[in-house]
C-alpha cells in the first residue's frame, strides 16, 4: 500500500477550514422489511428471509411498512425537522448484485423529513448545533461475499455470493447540511453528532443502533477551504465508518490528507474512500457516480405517503425526553461533572444507574458500583456493562446492605462476585458465603482489645494524640476478623478504648 502524504493536524488547521457533511444510515428495528413481510430477525440461514418482492421477481408488488414510516416521522420530529405532507418513493437505478431489483427503493427530492437540527454537546460541555438537511426512507442491500481473486482458490475464478436476507430491511438515511465553523474541533463534532444521533435513535426505540453490528453506519464527507474563504473545496466521501472513534479518526485523517494535497499545489479528487480501522487511514474507492447516473424516477408501484397532521402531532406527543436534556438533568441530580457524565455515557451505564437508583440505591452508590467494580469486570470479560449477569435491583440491594452496615465495601465486592458467578441474589450469597459484617460488639471488642495488646507502642502513640496511627490497629482488627468488621466502627471502638476523641 502506498503511503499517503499527510501534514500535521495543527499545520492543516493553521491554513485550512474544514467543512463536513455526515450521512448516517440507521437500520430500523421493525419486525419486517420495508416493502414486504419478510422477517428481519438476525441469524437466519442465508436466503431464508426473502420473497418475490425483495428478490425483485416479475409481478411482485411492494407495500410500505407502516411502522417504518412511523419510525421515520419520529426520527424527523426528534431532529426538529418539518414532516412532508406528501412525498413519494423513488427508484435509484444501479447495476450491482447487492440489489436483485437493479434499483434501490429510496426517496429523491421528496424526503419525508427535512430542515432540522440536532444540538450536540462536546466533552467540555460546549453545545454545537448541527443542521439537518433531510431524513429519508430507503432499504438496505443484500450481503455480498467475495470469493477467489488473485490469492484465492486454485481455479482463481473471482465471483461473489449473495445473501438477500438484508435486502429490503428499512433504512433511514439522515443527511446533515454542511457543518461549518467547527474548525479544529470538526472531528470531535463529527463524533459527538453520531454519538448523539445514536442515543436519540435508541431513546426513540426505533432501532438499537448498534454500530458494531452495522445497524448504524456513517459516511464522512469532508472538504477544506483556505482559512478566510467562503467557497467549499472538493470533497471526499469516506464510506462505512462504523464506530464513534473511527468517525473522529476518519475526519482527522482526511483533514491532514487534504491539506497535504492542497498545500503542495495538488487537487482533491471527488471520490469515495475506504476507512481502515487498523491504522485510521483512508484509501481511494471508486470515482463517485453523478446523481443523474442513478436515473431516479418516482416509484410507480408505491403510492405517495401523505402523513396527516393529526398523525404527526400524535407521534410528536410520544417523543421521549431528548437524550442530551436527560443527561444534563441526571448529571445535576447525581451531582457529577461533565467529564464523569461522559465516562458514564461511554461505559453504557446511564440507564443501569437510573434503574439502580429507581430500585432504591442512592445515586453515588449506584454510580460507584457500576463505574467501579462492575465496569472493571465488564472490561475484563470483554462484554458490555448491561450484559453482566447482575441486575440493577441486585446492585441496589448490595448498596442497601452496605448502607445499613451489614456489609462493608470489601464484603460487598465478594457479594457482587458471587452474584456474577451465578450463586444467586445478594442475600443468598451473603448467606451461603457467610459474609455478614461482624457487628457483635462483644466479639469486636475482644478483637480490638487483642489488637491493642499486641501493638502497645502504636496504642501509646494514639493515646499521645497521634490519632492517624489508629489506621494500623484498624488494619490488625480487620485482618483478625478476616475483613468482616465494619472498619468505621472498629476505629470508633479503638479510640473509645484508648480514651481519645476521634
Amino acid at each position: 500500500m502506498t503511503v499517503t502524504d499527510l501534514v500535521s493536524y495543527e499545520d492543516a488547521l493553521a491554513a485550512y477550514d474544514p467543512v463536513m457533511g455526515l450521512e448516517v444510515h440507521v437500520e430500523l428495528g421493525t419486525k419486517t422489511k420495508m416493502f414486504c413481510g419478510c422477517s428481519t430477525a438476525l441469524g437466519a440461514d442465508a436466503n431464508a428471509q426473502t420473497c418475490p418482492t425483495c428478490l425483485g421477481l416479475p409481478g411482485s408488488l411492494p407495500v410500505v411498512n407502516a411502522t417504518g414510516v412511523e419510525s421515520a416521522i419520529k426520527i424527523g420530529l426528534a431532529l426538529n425537522c418539518t414532516i412532508a405532507d406528501w412525498c413519494r418513493f423513488a427508484r435509484k437505478n444501479y447495476f450491482y448484485p447487492d440489489m436483485p431489483k437493479n434499483f434501490q427503493t429510496s426517496q429523491y427530492d421528496e424526503p419525508i423529513a427535512f430542515d432540522g437540527y440536532l444540538d450536540v454537546q462536546l466533552e467540555d460541555g460546549e453545545v454545537f448545533r448541527v443542521h439537518i438537511e433531510r431524513a429519508h426512507m430507503e432499504e438496505d442491500t443484500g450481503k455480498s461475499t467475495h470469493v477467489g481473486g488473485a490469492t484465492g482458490r486454485i481455479h482463481g475464478a473471482r465471483h461473489s455470493l449473495l445473501d438477500y436476507n438484508r435486502a429490503g430491511i428499512p433504512l433511514i438515511e439522515i443527511v446533515t447540511k454542511p457543518i461549518e465553523g467547527a474548525g479544529e474541533r470538526a472531528p470531535e463534532v463529527a463524533k459527538a453528532y453520531v454519538a448523539e444521533l445514536r442515543e436519540l435513535i435508541k431513546a426513540l426505540g426505533v432501532s438499537e443502533a448498534r454500530m458494531e453490528q452495522g445497524q448504524m453506519r456513517c459516511d464522512v464527507n469532508l472538504s477544506l477551504r483556505p482559512n478566510g474563504t467562503e467557497k467549499f473545496g472538493t470533497r471526499s466521501e469516506t464510506k462505512n465508518v462504523n464506530s464513534l472513534r473511527s468517525v473522529e479518526r476518519a475526519a482527522r485523517f482526511e483533514i491532514q490528507r487534504h491539506a497535504a494535497v492542497l498545500s503542495s499545489g495538488g487537487k482533491i479528487v471527488q471520490e469515495t474512500r475506504h476507512f481502515h480501522e487498523e491504522d485510521g487511514s483512508t484509501t481511494p474507492g471508486r470515482i463517485k457516480e453523478e446523481a443523474e447516473d442513478y436515473r431516479y424516477f418516482p416509484e410507480p408501484d408505491l403510492v405517495p405517503v401523505a402523513p396527516s397532521r393529526e398523525w404527526v402531532e400524535e407521534l410528536r406527543a410520544t417523543l421521549p425526553e431528548l437524550p442530551r436534556v436527560r443527561r444534563n438533568r441526571l448529571r445535576e441530580e447525581w451531582g457529577v461533572s461533565e467529564h464523569d457524565m461522559q465516562s458514564i455515557l461511554n461505559a453504557g451505564a446511564v440507564d443501569l444507574i437510573v434503574a439502580t437508583v429507581e430500585a432504591g440505591a442512592d445515586a453515588a452508590a449506584a454510580r460507584k458500583w457500576w463505574m467501579g467494580e462492575l465496569a472493571r469486570r465488564a472490561n475484563e470479560d470483554g462484554v458490555e456493562l448491561a450484559a453482566l449477569p447482575i441486575t440493577p435491583v441486585q446492585v441496589a440491594r448490595v448498596a442497601e446492605l452496605v448502607a445499613k452496615g451489614d456489609l462493608n465495601d470489601k464484603l460487598a465486592r465478594q457479594v457482587i462476585e458471587g452474584v456474577l458467578a451465578g450463586e444467586g441474589d445478594p442475600d443468598t450469597v451473603v448467606e451461603k458465603r457467610g459474609l455478614k459484617v461482624v457487628s457483635d460488639e462483644g466479639a469486636l471488642g475482644t478483637a480490638v482489645d487483642e489488637a491493642i495488646a499486641a501493638n502497645a507502642a502504636i496504642a501509646d502513640k494514639i493515646r499521645g494524640g497521634k490519632v492517624a496511627a489508629a489506621g494500623a490497629l484498624v488494619g490488625a482488627v480487620m485482618k483478625a476478623t478476616r475483613g468482616q468488621a465494619d472498619a468505621a466502627r472498629v476505629r470508633e471502638l479503638i479510640l473509645e478504648k484508648l480514651g481519645v476523641e476521634g
Binding site: T30, K31, T32, C36, G37, C38, S39, D45, A46, N47, A48, Q49, T50, C51, P52, L55, L57, V63, V64, N65, A66, T67, G68, V69, W86, R88, N93, Y94, F95, Y96, P97, P100, T145, H146, V147, G148, G149, R158, H159, S160, L161, L162, D163, Y164, H274, G285, R286, D293, R295, F297, P298, P300, L302, V303, P304, V305, A306, P307
Partner: protein, 98 residues
C-alpha cells in the same frame, strides 16, 4: 426538442452493463430518439396547469402492519438462480469494485 445522442445511449448502456456494438449504438440511438420525440409530444398539449403524473390513481398511504409473513424457502428463492453456491446466489465479480 428533447432527444438523445449516440453518446448518451453509450453512457446509458454502460450504466446498464449492456455491451453494444457500434452499429447497435447507431441503430438504438436513432430508435430511442424517435421514441423520445414521440413521447415529448405530450408536453405540447399539457400546459403548465397539468402537473407531471407519476401515479394515475388518487391514492395515498397504502401501508401494511409490521407483521411477519412467510418467506420463500432458500431452495425456492434460489430455484431460478443461474448459479448458486453455499445457499447463495453466485454472480460474476463486478470489475472495478473492491
Amino acid at each position: 426538442m428533447p432527444g438523445i445522442t449516440r453518446e448518451e445511449v453509450a453512457h446509458l448502456a454502460r450504466l446498464a452493463r449492456l455491451e453494444l456494438k457500434d452499429e447497435e449504438l447507431d441503430h438504438f440511438a436513432t430508435q430511442l430518439d424517435d421514441i423520445i420525440g414521440a413521447v415529448a409530444r405530450v408536453s405540447e398539449v399539457a400546459d403548465q396547469d397539468v402537473p407531471p403524473t407519476s401515479h394515475p390513481l388518487p391514492l395515498t398511504n397504502v401501508m401494511r402492519p409490521d407483521e411477519v409473513r412467510p418467506s420463500l424457502t432458500p431452495e425456492q428463492a434460489l430455484s431460478g438462480a443461474p448459479a448458486q453456491e453455499q445457499q447463495r446466489f453466485k454472480v460474476p465479480q463486478i470489475l472495478g469494485e473492491e
